[in-house]
């Protein structure tokens, strides 16, 4: 193997694939990146056995071949090379080291045989569709904060991507919940996604995809089966296992009869919550919301540190109500709201509350109260 590649192109590709490599691995080859030179490009592959990321970058290949080297070390070296420098990679005749040369800098990196590198073979994909990067990012961005990290309910450790009917139209819907709050967002159903199975895309996968999409405007090709999903865009192909589990019937926890409606400017509400919750402890003390005609009073009472209250004027004309929420959760949700006003649909202090944007009906949040 022998090739020459421009440093920035190599760095970008390496940074994309390296982020799935775990810092600590019990299987040594999982710390490595697979470097394969063919035709006019070099293909870099990294995996943690659940996710595989492949990125191709143009290169001047004089001899085809492949090897694997430590991903983080490779990335660190390339990062420290000069902007725009040429990098030569070659595998000597004994194949024990990969030589990396850039100007006066020379490295010889230990390798592991490419044949040992695991192949996350995808098998047959049952559905394929194109979705705009904007829509995909929106599906992830609006729900990821609610993904559970609790191991016991592993089926909540991802985003539930499925089709659902809203007002007679099939939509693509993403739902995430950790049992305390739930986020739901939908976008137009892409062509080809009709009849797709409901799938749970793991947290790490959606976060990786979101990162990789950062500066992509193009459309993303999605292929999926009941056990795998693959995203292809630009020079990147990311394949991931899905969570093998059943997402709970979330529809039954979304209340329909909440008739007490509070409407309040999102920004000033979030700021006030942030201010009073300064006094709450990290275990998630509740912020109490007292709703009365035309106003909302926020308060926190922490026996260890003191108390705080703040009154806001708000549109509310139902019966008085007192309800508590975890301050962190309120802030997470309000940070998702894009329009000026947030709408709370409440029932009673022990029942789920709906929060939504007044202007964006495609997104819906459900929040379980805390006892106060």
């Amino acid at each position: 193997m022998r090739l020459i590649i421009e440093r920035n192109a190599l760095l970008k590709a390496l940074s994309h694939v390296t982020s799935v490599v775990e810092r600590r691995n019990t299987i040594p080859i999982l710390s490595n990146v697979l470097v394969a030179a063919t035709g006019k490009s070099v293909k870099l592959t990294a995996t943690d056995l659940d996710i595989e990321v492949i990125e191709t970058a143009p290169a001047d290949v004089s001899q085809e071949g492949s090897t694997t080297v430590s991903a983080h070390m490779f990335y660190d070296i390339v990062r420290k090379l000069a902007d725009g420098a040429q990098v030569e990679l070659s595998l000597g005749p004994d194949e024990g080291r990969m030589a990396l040369t850039s100007g006066p800098a020379k490295f010889a990196l230990q390798v592991l045989p490419p044949n040992d590198f695991p192949d996350l073979s995808a098998g047959d994909m049952s559905h394929a569709f194109e979705i705009s990067a904007a829509d995909l990012k929106r599906l992830i961005d609006k729900t990821r904060f609610a993904i559970s990290t609790e191991e016991t309910r592993y089926y909540l450790n991802g985003i539930y991507l499925h089709t659902a009917e809203t007002d007679g139209t099939e939509m693509m819907r993403a739902v995430a919940t950790d049992g305390h709050r739930l986020a739901q967002i939908e976008v137009d159903l892409p062509k080809g996604a009709e009849g797709m199975p409901g799938i749970i895309v793991p947290r790490k996968t959606v976060l990786e995809v979101y990162k990789l999409l950062e500066d992509t405007e193009a459309s993303v090709k999605v292929e999926l089966s009941t056990s795998k999903i693959r995203f292809s865009f630009g020079d990147v192909v990311l394949t991931s296992q899905l969570i093998d589990g059943t997402f709970p019937d979330y529809g039954r926890v979304i209340p329909h009869g909440n008739d007490k409606i509070l409407s309040i400017p999102s920004a000033s509400f979030a700021e006030a919550v942030d201010r009073v919750s300064t006094l709450s402890s990290d275990k998630g003390r509740a912020v109490k919301l007292r709703l009365g005609e035309g106003k909302l009073t926020l308060s926190v009472n922490n026996p260890d540190s003191g108390s705080a209250t703040e009154e806001l004027s708000a549109a509310y004309d139902a019966d008085d109500l007192e309800i508590g929420f975890n301050a962190r959760y309120l802030l997470d949700i309000t940070s998702q709201l894009e329009s000026d006003d947030a709408e709370f649909l409440l029932s009673d202090p022990g029942s789920p509350t709906i929060v939504r944007d007044t202007s964006d009906k495609a997104a819906l949040y459900v929040l379980m109260p805390m006892r106060v």
Partner: protein
């Protein structure tokens, strides 16, 4: 006989209410005074929770089957327990103790250790101190008596409080403790039950003094590690501190096994049993646990632990077991193991946590478990057992001697 308390390196008091439940019943209902009474459910399968002193000459006592107790003492009045009332009285007693020392370790509703080191200028010598404590309890409760033991260690203080019951006050200066214990039978050693008693007798040890005189290494050979522990107690050594304001930090249950295990399924069976036990204790103490920890001790005495913090605290045995079972996968060691333990830590009061859950799935197992709690409360701990436990039960005595008291089994 007592010199100034200040001469003692430590002053530890053990206070133990006399026939607590029965005494409260007699206090509240004058018609029961002077009569033998048995507090407990009036059913054939129930057990006696407390027998009044009037009933004790008939050789009845706590944990005896109600039917048997009735046969032995046919004249006894059987009184169903009123735990709310006992808790209320307990609170006022603990309040009295707290007036004496900031270091009060409540062992159960009716029993506590107090560290009164260096308080002689406040309460006087041990005898004065003990008398004041007893008077204060009598006054606060309207006439209940407490037996008090005072010495330099928790163990000796506990033996002392039991020395002259009821209404006793026994003071054992630290330097006299070993000699004072020496003539007592080995059953007075903390942690010696009927089985260990037999084993001790079998190797020729009848009294605590004989245990103290024995070579600790020889004891360990004969009895295992508890041998060292018994030897230390017999020499009146007990380094445990009074745990101060005891908000139990963890609740655990572990078993040293009769036979080492390697098989994961078998380990799971022990974890299952520990989870049931811990769930029951969490519910009784009204705690929820965020943390779950599995402990394994290898045949080579290496202790391995792995833990996990839950997002939602629980007191449901099913949930604890589910966590424990997952945690078990994080142990690489193939075994064999000689001890399997499970602990719930990072505890919060039930009324303190309060984030409701959208999918409150644990409700069903919790209802089942609280129903089982009720059964065990009424009919005794053995009324229900998991079928998987029946076969193995005999081989695995719980050797955890620190957990000698049914009410006080928090992990130290």
């Amino acid at each position: 006989m007592a010199r100034d308390v200040s001469d003692w390196p430590k002053t530890i008091v053990h206070a133990d209410m006399d026939a607590f439940y029965a005494a409260i019943e007699q206090l509240d209902d004058p018609s029961l005074r002077g009569k033998p009474i048995l507090v407990g459910p009036n059913s054939d399968r129930g057990v006696v929770l407390t027998a009044s002193y009037e009933a004790r000459p008939y050789r009845v006592g706590s944990a005896m089957a109600m039917a048997k107790a009735r046969r032995r003492c046919p004249d006894a009045v059987i009184v169903p327990p009123r735990f709310d009332r006992y808790t209320e009285v307990s609170k006022s007693i603990m309040g009295v103790f707290a007036d004496f020392s900031p270091h009060v370790e409540a062992i159960s509703l009716d029993e506590a250790f107090l560290d009164l080191t260096g308080t002689n200028h406040l309460f006087g010598r041990p005898r004065e101190l003990g008398t004041k404590l007893k008077d204060a309890v009598r006054e606060a409760t309207g006439g209940l008596t407490v037996s008090v033991g005072i010495s330099g260690t928790k163990y000796v203080a506990k033996v002392a409080s039991d020395y002259r019951k009821p209404d006793g006050l026994t003071i054992v200066p630290p330097e006299e403790a070993q000699g004072w214990l020496a003539p007592m039978p080995v059953t007075r050693l903390w942690g010696v039950g009927p089985k260990t008693e037999k084993r001790l007798h079998a190797i020729g040890l009848e009294t605590i003094g004989q245990v103290a005189a024995a070579d600790p290494d020889w004891l360990s050979d004969k009895l295992g590690r508890v041998g060292q522990h018994f030897h230390a107690l017999a020499c009146a050594q007990d380094p445990r501190r009074v745990e101060g304001q005891r908000r139990s930090k963890s609740i655990g249950s572990e078993r040293t096994l009769g036979q080492d295990v390697s098989d994961r399924e078998e380990i799971r069976r022990y974890l299952r049993r520990s989870a049931d036990e811990i769930g029951r204790r969490l519910r009784r103490k009204r705690y929820l646990a965020y943390g779950v920890r599995v402990k394994l001790k290898t045949a080579g005495f290496q202790i391995l632990t792995r833990q996990h913090r839950r997002r939602q605290p629980t007191d449901v045995a099913d949930a604890l077991y589910e966590d424990a079972s997952l945690i078990l996968n994080n142990f690489d060691h193939p075994g064999p193991f000689r001890l399997v333990g499970l602990a719930a830590y990072d505890l919060v009061r039930q009324e303190q946590t309060d984030q409701a859950d959208l999918f409150s799935a644990p409700q069903r197992p919790r209802k089942l478990e609280t129903a089982i709690d009720d059964l065990k409360e009424r009919f005794g701990p053995n009324v229900l057992r998991r079928a998987t436990d029946l076969r193995k039960a005999r081989q695995t005595p719980n050797l955890d001697f620190l957990h000698d008291d049914e009410e006080d089994d928090d992990e130290k």
